[in-house]
Symmetry: C2
């Protein structure tokens, strides 16, 4: 595995790789890697001839009162974790990604304005802009994202389609802790009490699935029962719970065939997200 920090050098290397006809797989991350990231990297290794992983904590996707400064970092551990499966680890410098006169943005309207986009204004504009840049640097044939950040994956799929970017987006299942908590770098913020409470996100999704399987298809009622369950955890404060169409993210009143249930919940001061696609049998 080679570590590259310069986008110009990486672009030269990528041009060489592409001329040789190799398929490039790409996993963009913000580091502090966990089993969720590793599942993406291993899949890229399996699918492609050449694997690029990037670690870049992208300031554009953090709001002014969010956790950019304290976002967890452990570069030595990250390097050790991805070494086995990665050809190039790309660690761009902040000032080379966003020089002083940087002024371009990529925005996906509608899909980027709801759910987490409503709670975190500008978040998905920051995500779309940095992923667009990274795709142009790495020129991957396939790029890998986690289902945990499903709205992000849908927005990137839409950007790629709308802008005719020649890359396939692959979305892999959420990887969970044994008790069901979705893996996230932000789980490291939780104290022991909060860590126990945090399981209510997944539990409430399972409750929703169970309700639908038993024939309850009224979204308002399902959300009400999810809320009740979540608020039994003392440290929990709900940001949003939403049941939507998996393609358009528009809210559903009833679940006819398929639905995407998403939620964001503060556990103490840590904002966690999770989601589940629910199919009516």
């Amino acid at each position: 595995m080679r570590i590259v920090t310069s986008s110009e050098l990486l672009q030269k290397e990528i041009a060489r790789i592409k001329r040789s006809g190799k398929l490039i797989g790409f996993v963009p991350t913000m580091g502090y890697l966990h089993e969720g990231h590793l599942s993406l990297i291993r899949r890229a290794r399996h699918d492609c001839d050449f694997v690029v992983v990037s670690i870049f904590v992208n300031p554009l996707q953090f709001g002014p009162r969010e956790d950019l400064d304290k976002y967890p970092r452990d570069l030595n551990r990250d390097v050790a974790l991805c070494r086995k499966y990665t050809d190039i680890l790309f660690l761009p410098y902040l000032q080379s990604m966003y020089p002083k006169d940087f002024s371009t943005s990529v925005e996906v309207k509608k899909l980027g304005d709801v759910l987490c986009g409503a709670s975190r204004p500008g978040h998905f504009k920051g995500v779309a802009t940095v992923v667009n840049k990274l795709f142009n640097i790495v020129l991957p044939d396939a790029a890998y994202f986690g289902q945990k950040d499903v709205q992000q994956a849908i927005i990137i799929e839409r950007m790629v389609k709308d802008l005719n970017m020649p890359v396939k987006i692959k979305v892999l299942p959420t990887v969970r802790e044994p008790d069901g908590l979705a893996m996230s770098s932000r789980n490291s913020y939780l104290n022991p009490r909060e860590r126990i409470d945090a399981v209510v996100l997944h539990k409430s999704l399972l409750l929703a699935q169970d309700l639908v399987r038993k024939g309850n298809i009224n979204c308002k009622k399902i959300v009400h029962k999810m809320k009740k369950l979540i608020l039994e955890a003392k440290t929990a404060r709900i940001d949003y719970i939403s049941i939507v169409c998996p393609e358009t993210l528009s809210p559903l009143k009833e679940i006819s065939s398929q639905a995407l249930v998403l939620l964001a919940v503060f556990i103490g001061r840590t904002r966690l997200i999770d989601n589940l696609v629910i199919k009516r049998r």
Copy 2:
């Protein structure tokens, strides 16, 4: 020359061309080709191994009260004109470029908000978005633009740099009619009286150059004299005249070494633009 209307087919063809190691030159146009466009296409032919020209009248870059519906078209003439120098003429369909659920935009702030961007809100967002799409489809090594649309060229250069797009932008000199009028598809709107008046755009730029060469470096005074000259033409109405830094487009008070003089003038109901880089000796 092959005509291709499907972006998917073009992308497959481009992938094949790139694997063979050929350099791709690209000239995006809105058609109704004139000698200005042809100078770009010939230069692409000279520089590159494979030349793609696109013709697409991009609705995103027209305001609601602008000339989208009456924009001049003559596809048969265009095909004949570029046949000699072009490998692929790309004629995308509107609905394939912007399907119903299209929702992504690319925007260059600041550079895109002044001058023509102030007169035509959303214009450069439309330009950046369509050029971004076309670059992703054609994957050119070099793309060619005319100095006549200098703000457009500067914005595209900025977008390419900011988004790390692997393409070189080449800006070629404005091609002029014998009397100095900058060539433009919109010149076809002018009636004989207006055609005569239209020469004041270029004349006023030459006046500015002459004033600077004679030691007049106060921009306010230069603009005042340009205005006076232009308004001698009965059908002329000034949209803006501006003297700016050629890199940042910020207004200058005095010309120290180099300046970009830009103007937009309505001749009758036709809005024309022109510009000149002026160097102090």
